[in-house]
Symmetry: C2
Subunit: 143 residues, 2 copies
Amino acid sequence: MGMQEKPFFLAVAAVIRNGEGRVLLLKRSDDDTINPGKWDLPGGKIDEGETFDQALVREVREESGLAVGLCHVAGAGELELPDKRIAYLILECAAESGDISLSPEHSAYCWIDPAEAAVLDLAPQYRDLFSRYARGFEGYHPG
Amino acid sequence: MGMQEKPFFLAVAAVIRNGEGRVLLLKRSDDDTINPGKWDLPGGKIDEGETFDQALVREVREESGLAVGLCHVAGAGELELPDKRIAYLILECAAESGDISLSPEHSAYCWIDPAEAAVLDLAPQYRDLFSRYARGFEGYHPG
């Protein structure tokens, strides 16, 4: 199958910062079929009839227990799978409440300085964003 | 209205390169209500019932006359308007056919080295991407 013919899907992901500016990363379960054991951002697919902002708030709540509001666009990423490609739109979000509660999809979490997250075994779709943070990018604030 | 309450919409945009690696930019009409006279990428909103890749192919055809295929994620951007915010997912596309035919939305076009596009008066949602190109970013190719 050529690159052009592989279907492209859209997903959303959240960069959630705590009061110290650290970012929430979730470790994917070792038995996941996609990116097992890799460090992940909360997020996922947009369900039918759902807008991208609704999808992101839902996915963050399902995967972390946190209630968030969308602040700004942070960046983008891409995941290449054998049968499809997934485009990720990544947004900076603010957490409105505190305690983390993981879903079975993840086995651990951490709050990390985004400039240092590239030392972790990140899911490939987030490496471009975190290498930007490592080079001094502080998030995208238009206007 | 606080930042958190402004609704967020999603749009798509295309970085289309010609055989010399130059990128297609379109100049917005001077009487447009949004970004009049600014240099723009082809793209726009996702219509109801349409996937993001269908929307991008449709918008590129409407605004440039070109038939394109989606290659890779290029980046993201954000446009802040008085009553809403628009998140842009930007994809690198390959043009499958050649002659440019503009819609009334644009008044001119150019093909420019992406590293030099920041000298133009760009629409703000694309400034982050083109400042990356100016610093040596060559496009995002995962894997």
